[in-house]
Symmetry: D2
Subunit: 302 residues, 4 copies
Amino acid sequence: MPLSPEQSAEIEALRSQSAQTLRATVPGMEAHLYKAFPVLDHGFVRVIDYMGDDAAICQAARVSYGKGTKSVQNDEGLIRYLMRHWHSTPFEMCELKLHVKLPVFVARQWIRHRTANVNEYSARYSILDREFYIPAPEHLAAQSEVNNQGRGQALEGEEAARVLDYLKADSMRAYDHYEEMISTEGQQGLARELARMNLPANIYTQWYWKVDLHNLLHFLRLRADSHAQYEIRVYAEEMCKIVADWVPFAFKAFEDYRMGGATLSATALDCVRRMLAGESVTKENSGMSAGEWREFQAVLSE
Amino acid sequence: MPLSPEQSAEIEALRSQSAQTLRATVPGMEAHLYKAFPVLDHGFVRVIDYMGDDAAICQAARVSYGKGTKSVQNDEGLIRYLMRHWHSTPFEMCELKLHVKLPVFVARQWIRHRTANVNEYSARYSILDREFYIPAPEHLAAQSEVNNQGRGQALEGEEAARVLDYLKADSMRAYDHYEEMISTEGQQGLARELARMNLPANIYTQWYWKVDLHNLLHFLRLRADSHAQYEIRVYAEEMCKIVADWVPFAFKAFEDYRMGGATLSATALDCVRRMLAGESVTKENSGMSAGEWREFQAVLSE
Amino acid sequence: MPLSPEQSAEIEALRSQSAQTLRATVPGMEAHLYKAFPVLDHGFVRVIDYMGDDAAICQAARVSYGKGTKSVQNDEGLIRYLMRHWHSTPFEMCELKLHVKLPVFVARQWIRHRTANVNEYSARYSILDREFYIPAPEHLAAQSEVNNQGRGQALEGEEAARVLDYLKADSMRAYDHYEEMISTEGQQGLARELARMNLPANIYTQWYWKVDLHNLLHFLRLRADSHAQYEIRVYAEEMCKIVADWVPFAFKAFEDYRMGGATLSATALDCVRRMLAGESVTKENSGMSAGEWREFQAVLSE
Amino acid sequence: MPLSPEQSAEIEALRSQSAQTLRATVPGMEAHLYKAFPVLDHGFVRVIDYMGDDAAICQAARVSYGKGTKSVQNDEGLIRYLMRHWHSTPFEMCELKLHVKLPVFVARQWIRHRTANVNEYSARYSILDREFYIPAPEHLAAQSEVNNQGRGQALEGEEAARVLDYLKADSMRAYDHYEEMISTEGQQGLARELARMNLPANIYTQWYWKVDLHNLLHFLRLRADSHAQYEIRVYAEEMCKIVADWVPFAFKAFEDYRMGGATLSATALDCVRRMLAGESVTKENSGMSAGEWREFQAVLSE
């Protein structure tokens, strides 16, 4: 359980204080606010604030004085049109602020998405907690043999046990030494900004992360994808649920046009046209490389 | 008066719908929401939405579970510290969304600030209104003789009258022709995306503009400055009032450290030290260029 | 002809000074450097500088000490892989700097692409030239009847003549008055920052524009598209030729995967699968809206 | 020594291939190209490419057809003016591409500067080398007693020895286990994307990093500052030397106006004016907090 009683009390205090507002408000998000949705063994995602809703997307697209469109039906149609034609600016008019607790190696992937605002817990200034990500047995996966950047089946038997032992023992020892090094009992105590370098990448960090809806959906397209590393994908999946409650029309359009869609090359489109015209298109006469052909087949048979 | 009765009714409708929220809420901003604050002869600034408050800055800086700090006093001290030491990320955790109506030549200056989200009224898609900025007599300024990029005294007499005549007549004629060209009565009608090019830069456009507090303050530092062009400065000044009501601690720190402060070069600091030690520092022995010395004198005598 | 003899001489001077460099160098780009490629009636695109080549994309993708890959064949395969899987950062490692002269209404569309660096000629500081975009007769298009944001056939006869008269006469008159207003002969002279507002949006401006290859390709995908406004599309098309000479592998992959490709929604992919399985898919049983179905048909029949 | 013979050979190969170019070329940078300048115990900074020079800053500021200004003297004056008045866009017209090898905890600080392009060595895809940062004895600093975010004197005696033992032994053990876990000899082998999480933050990573001069100078202002952590400051200092050779006028202006300068608040400026007028200003009558007063004294006495 990732929260201390004190932290839970702080969250309860925030959830007990309601105020009137004239701003766009989404009941589904109000229900989420401040709560910690658990991810992995010690991580979480918490909604801290949000700006806008589906109507706000339409309102900005139309640069209107009141709400975007008169009817809910129009709103959905407009949102689908905007998503289909790669309009990005109306989606940028919604903003989400999250508090996320996550292993450092996940944070390092995450931060590659630069168009967002971040405040991370400072290990120069503060002392990190003794919390490390240790994979559940079913996620202790072998290296993929076909994909340098992927994983295969879960490890088994002695090998799995040995790996878990290493991960646990090395984490604990590293943290013991971290604590010893920064201790000021009977010694000077190493600077925190130096001591932290002894800690492995499965230690948990946390940050406030704020992002607009357009960039958030781009993040989710890449990180909720089946090729994303499992440990970041579970965060993305949790965020997908939140976004679905926040801007349901936008999320539905995103699922149809982005997550469930696929981009076909000129060559691939040509193959589709030939196939629809009755031609037998093979890898050999397709004009594609082996990799392209494999991916094309996957799209057609999904 | 920039708003039509229909637009006013839309604004009233939005202001009449209040909801409960658990989010950070600022009464001073709730009072502003949706209202159109007039700027220039037809322009305005309207607050459409906001995210965060002074406490949210501290909350992010501390990556805390509840509110940032326990006491209001601590909050102000922390915000001043963050501003003084050029911490930018905590201020990025607040976000403001405005609806702005402004002349095109002002919009062209404004858009140079790239770190913001914009949806502008489309003159490809829609027809622009017959609204042009015509300066009030006291703002019809002559070219500065000392500053290529500035203005001097207001024009007077016949010259002023002639300029106003030109601006008004050319605007009206351009718009008459715009309307004639796009008209489909008895003719095909020119494409809007082409017809718009006949319109001068004092025509009004409008946009939704969303920005985080850090980038907003940067905008205000440059555009609320006395060297900024008057026509954008009045927008910045109106926004300063809004920000003062939104995040009063942050705005006060901004006034002290940015708007009212000054950056002195190594050479200038050395001169200050010499002067405090009793030395007579002159332009000649200062090590500064003529321009630097003039600006240095201005800082010391302000 | 857009260049004065003095400007041509400056360009010649730059082209006559060659130096040795150890940097990645592309002969095709060296041939372009500094030359003004004409666009529209007074505009141009000039390559001022470039960084990187196809090999630099691979070098960064591999974080290698020397060149990216050993063989040219490998380079092309890797670049196609990166493009196909939406890797953006290796393409960001190439950079292009252009000098562009363009009408203001085109500049206003262009600047919406924010991830670029821009220095525009300042009409606060300097005096604009008397140069206006006047469409060639075949580009004087009527408003589209099916697309609010498009154009139809060229205007004809008297209507075309009248439109051209308006555009020319209004431009000339506006510029006459601009000159008169800023003149200091026998009067104070209006400030340049004010006088410019009398000038219509078909006046030419110019800027230095610097962008990385990833963002440039995104710009070209939207602006070299057949739905883009003609007046910006001709700039994009000229830039496409430049990019093809600069990074031929990347540009070829871009043409196949982006310009010539299409993104199909989950619904559309499902229809393709049903059609390939022999089912008769109609607008009614497709699950698509009218607009989606029309666009889907266009993709299949292109 | 950070480079293998093979890597050195690749660098030599690149340095032996010179080509003619018409682009802006800087002899001082040509001398640096591709060479690895050592930083810390295994790190380095290598210049991979550069775009522009001092003249290119002026050229863009003036949006000129040829070089920026006619005389070198004018160039320096203009650059100082631009720097003094916070003009950012002309400096964005120069671009630098580096290959950097650095410990992960330094990389995590570095990446917080978001306006740059990065390609990092992928530990999902590849195997990391056995290289860890172990501080030299004189940099094994104690936690500062006055600054939560700083360090004090170097540790001594047994304490220093124990810390070094921990850092070395934990690094080696973590790497031994990393190698064992990913080994496929007689076992499946853990996925690389998982195994990497056992490695501590003092392991070295590397990346290609590309940035424009404006954002680079902002980075250097914060990271070459005496308050920056030593381990990132040494990278910034090495980069300062490179920039000084690349754009000497811009760097000199940067040193005077940014690195050696200071921003005084409105309150502080008022105190300076009072002091120059002969008044005795004390902490009590200054209107400053204790922290502000201390920093103000430091500026005056530096």
